[in-house]
């Protein structure tokens, strides 16, 4: 660390920036993912980008790596204005990206993956398989991986797959390396290896943009930190001038009260009792011996990072995933086999995380979507009663204030927030006793978020138990009467409202052991 241009570690905000995103604006339909962000990646430094889910980090990186184009704004690389119409063009200028979601081909070998789309050719114009193997081995040994380049990627553990993804980018000539949550699937030692490689890259004057949620990790490796919130840049500073509390404060920003303040409802009996719930997975259990309860009138938040097992827990509760052990009791009755219809009848209902994939039937109207779970009850004789359908659907539209041109409009015509309310309306029509909400505010604007919270609060007042998953600190802290923290499939903390602090949540979400917290 003593030689090389980047070794001085004398970082300040005026240092030269190799890549600048100037005044980026990006809108999807009516949703603004970025609202005029100017982000600088300083030359030869590790530039950390942080922010909560939906803050715009991934969108910013997609534009810088050519996967998407900004609605307005320009990219300045090395002093020149450039334009990337595809990832290939960005790559040609030396910008590589390691994606958060693996973008590997599980059915191909490690070497094939590393050279996918840029195969080398020998003199006979055939793929040079030997050269592929040689270079793949070199890239892997740089990452201290002793795996054969002929191994099928699908056969590797997920952490190793992540390293293959990293090897793929490193085997190309990158000047700027974007890493979007590269450690989410890595073990502690694998993270150490990655950081050593990053140190090497820094010595080679490679500029790194590093996106992460894990405070301790990025504080170890980062030189600069830039904070995004709700599509805008709110702060940037050399890492040495910051501390954890400051970063969290910048990320969360708004005081919790401005989002929504909940007054706790009267808490009743336990409605949902989960004990020792386990869902097997590779390499470790997706849900690992989880026990908790939810009482009537209580809003329980589950906080955790991506991949912590929160969604899997929700899916197991509603019955789309099969548990290998443990019990789920609703009002004292064991839930039995995993059939969604039965769980709904017992009083559970789920608003899923991905409303496009799991929530909406895009081809159908708002009315059909809202009524989907209860159409069987809306008949007159054998036929559906148009009048009753209309009444019930309109009732829900008014209760939840869903903004629609008419209940017969295609559900795809609605904004994200209103689509979410459609899914919520459907769940509520099954008259649940326990409402499960998985990231209920994902991808919707602040106004709609507040409304969703108001609805959740109203439901708790009416005696429902509400269990919701969120990756946003402000949300769980503002809304939950009790917070469960999940990490690596386990519950690592169970905190009543008045004991919750940002620091506790953050450290519990990075821990793999249950934290000893007095209740």
């Amino acid at each position: 660390m003593s030689a090389g241009p980047a070794a001085t570690r004398d970082w300040d905000l005026d240092a030269p920036a190799l890549l600048v995103a100037e005044d980026f604006v990006k809108s999807y339909g009516g949703v603004h993912a970025l609202r005029g962000v100017t982000f600088k990646a300083r030359t030869g430094a590790v530039n950390v980008l942080v922010g909560e889910n939906g803050a715009g980090k991934s969108t910013l990186m997609k534009i810088l790596s050519g996967a998407e184009q900004a609605t307005s704004g320009r990219i300045v690389l090395d002093g020149d204005v450039v334009e990337f119409r595809s990832p290939r063009e960005a790559m040609a200028r030396g910008i590589g990206i390691i994606h958060q979601e693996l973008s590997l081909f599980p059915n191909l070998s490690v070497a094939d993956n590393i050279f996918a789309g840029r195969e080398l050719h020998n003199r006979g114009h055939l793929t040079d398989v030997r050269e592929h193997r040689k270079q793949a081995s070199a890239a892997l040994s740089r990452l201290r991986q002793e795996i054969s380049p002929d191994t099928m990627v699908g056969d590797l553990p997920i952490g190793t797959q992540q390293l293959v993804e990293i090897a793929r980018v490193l085997s190309q000539d990158v000047r700027i390396l974007i890493m979007d949550e590269p450690t989410s699937a890595l073990s502690g030692t694998e993270v150490d290896v990655l950081f050593e490689v990053m140190e090497d890259l820094r010595k080679e004057n490679v500029t790194i943009i590093y996106i992460s949620h894990k405070l301790e990790e990025f504080r170890r490796i980062g030189d600069y930190v830039t904070v995004l919130r709700d599509g805008a840049l709110v702060a940037e500073a050399p890492m040495s001038e910051t501390d954890t509390a400051w970063i969290v404060q910048q990320m969360v920003g708004r005081s919790q009260s401005s989002l929504f303040t909940r007054t706790a409802s009267t808490v009743g009996d336990v409605i949902l009792q989960v004990e020792g719930l386990t869902v097997p997975g590779k390499p470790t259990a997706l849900v690992d011996n989880v026990s908790f309860n939810v009482k009537a009138g209580e809003i329980v938040g589950i906080y955790g990072l991506m991949g912590a097992g929160r969604t899997e827990l929700m899916e197991t509760l509603i019955g789309t995933r099969i548990r290998s052990a443990g019990s789920i009791r609703i009002e004292g009755k064991e839930a039995g086999d995993s059939r969604v219809a039965r769980r709904l009848a017992m009083g559970l209902a789920l608003v899923p995380e991905d409303r496009q994939r799991d929530g909406l039937v895009q081809a159908l109207s708002v009315r059909a979507n809202v009524l989907l779970a209860i159409v069987g009850n809306l008949t007159k004789g054998l036929l559906l009663s148009n009048g009753r359908e209309r009444d019930v659907a309109n009732g829900q539209v008014q209760d939840l204030r869903i903004k629609v041109p008419s209940v017969d409009a295609q559900v795809t015509e609605l904004s994200g927030g209103n689509q979410q309310k459609v899914v919520l309306a459907r769940a509520l029509l099954t008259k649940p006793k326990i409402l499960l909400l998985d990231e209920p505010t994902r991808g919707i604007d602040v106004g709609a978020k507040t409304e969703i919270f108001r609805i959740m609060s109203g439901l708790a007042d009416a005696g429902l138990g509400v269990l919701f998953v969120s990756s946003e600190l402000a949300e769980v802290m503002g809304m939950a009467d009790r917070v469960l923290v999940m990490a690596r499939g386990r519950i690592t903390a169970d905190l009543p409202r008045d004991e919750v602090t940002q620091g506790l949540l953050v450290s519990a979400s990075a821990s793999s052991q249950a934290m000893k917290v007095s209740q």
């Binding site: 339909g29 509603i318 789309t320 059939r339 969604v340 219809a341 709904l344 009848a345 789920l350 899923p352 994939r357 799991d358 929530g359 909406l360 039937v361 895009q362 081809a363 159908l364 059909a368 009524l371 989907l372 779970a373 159409v375 069987g376 809306l378 008949t379 054998l382 036929l383 559906l384 309109n394 539209v397 008014q398 209760d399 939840l400 204030r401 903004k403 629609v404 041109p405 008419s406 209940v407 017969d408 409009a409 795809t412 015509e413 459907r426 509520l428 099954t430 108001r454 609805i455 109203g458 439901l459 007042d461 009416a462």
Partner: protein, 356 residues
């Protein structure tokens, strides 16, 4: 449910009023749905210009009679395609049902003891349709319980059902289905030969099946669930819909419709041949697709499918009537199917562009 306390909605929703601006979109939707109908009208116009015999009452009735077979099969197939499945076995099911029913009329049911049991005509028809429904149930069970892809499951059943059709007679024909009054099994010709009020019974059958199918798809909870399963199976499941049951049901419907078509064909021919309705599944699928049913599921109408069946039938018969060679008939038929789908894709793209 009291989810929104205190404050009133700032803009109360004038639902009735705000339906107004949707009219334009509805006209566009109607045009979209009418696309196949426009093709049909053009088709009729062109052929009646070429041949004076095309647009005559007798020819229209004859062509529509042919259409009824394809339409009935395609209506059943539409249920399956709406769930994002496919049923390749309908032609074979039609053949098998024809052979089962034909055999019962011709030689009765031979029991091991040397006895022969005879069934009345109505019973014979009912058994034929039940056989089709049962084969459909096998399709559905293979797909839902054993996780066989619909294409493969029904392809396998296509061969198996055809094989059993051959096995029923050892590959031969049941040449005489007239029956005898003493056995109460006369009158099987009602389906394929007779007319009521001057219209062939098979056309009445098509109208009845279509009417029933329209009601089921648009006005019953089952119909709504069929669309939901095809549109988004995961969402349907989370809504408590038993998706496996819905899928099994649509294959049963498809099998029963195919069997009815098989009975009509057999009745029309006056004899049961084991290779009846071979490759008819392709016409059925083409009719559904021409009518705007999406092979990805969730989108499509029964009316569209019926119009699609008319396009295929009127086109085929028209080409024969004006004397186009059988080889060119195939080329024209295939081209029209592709063009119709290209047109749909174009209109979908236009629609998407208008929406944004």
């Amino acid at each position: 449910m009291n989810a929104s306390p205190e404050t009133e909605a700032k803009t109360p929703l004038p639902v009735e009023e705000r339906r107004q601006p949707n009219t334009g979109a509805r006209v566009a939707m109607l045009l979209l749905q009418g696309r196949t109908l426009i093709v049909l009208v053009v088709l009729i116009a062109v052929f009646s210009l070429i041949s004076v015999d095309y647009l005559t009452q007798s020819n229209l009735l004859l062509m529509t009679k042919h259409v009824s077979i394809t339409a009935i099969m395609a209506i059943g197939g539409t249920f399956v395609i709406l769930t994002a499945g496919i049923d390749l076995s309908v032609g074979s099911i039609a053949g098998l049902s024809g052979m089962i029913s034909g055999g019962l009329l011709y030689e009765g049911l031979k029991l091991p003891g040397g006895h022969t049991v005879w069934f009345s005509t109505v019973m014979v028809m009912a058994i034929g349709i039940l056989v089709g429904a049962a084969v459909g149930a096998i399709n559905g069970l293979l797909i839902t319980k054993l996780n066989v892809a619909p294409f493969i499951a029904t392809l396998g059943v296509l061969y198996v059902a055809r094989g059993f059709a051959d096995l029923r007679s050892g590959g031969g024909t049941f040449p005489n289905l007239a029956g005898t009054p003493a056995r109460h099994n006369t009158g099987f010709d009602v389906l394929g030969v007779q007319s009521w009020f001057g219209v062939p019974v098979s056309i009445w059958a098509m109208v009845a099946v279509a009417a029933l199918a329209i009601v089921v798809t648009t006005r019953t909870p089952f119909g709504r669930r069929v669309y939901a399963v095809g549109g988004n199976e995961r969402a349907a499941e989370l809504s408590g819909i038993r998706t496996a049951r819905i899928k099994i049901a649509v294959y049963i419907i498809s099998g029963a419709c195919a069997a009815l078509a098989g009975l009509i064909l057999t009745s029309e021919l006056g004899a049961a041949y084991p290779d009846t309705a071979t490759t008819y599944e392709l016409n059925a699928i083409a009719a559904a697709v021409l009518g705007g049913t999406s092979l990805f599921g969730g989108k499509g109408t029964i009316i569209g499918t019926v119009v699609g069946a008319f396009v295929i039938g009127y086109l085929s018969d028209g080409l024969v009537l004006v004397g186009v060679s059988p080889f060119w008939q195939l080329v024209v038929k295939g081209t029209v199917i592709i063009l119709a789908v290209v047109l749909e894709q174009t209109q979908e793209r236009v629609k998407a562009r208008m929406a944004t």
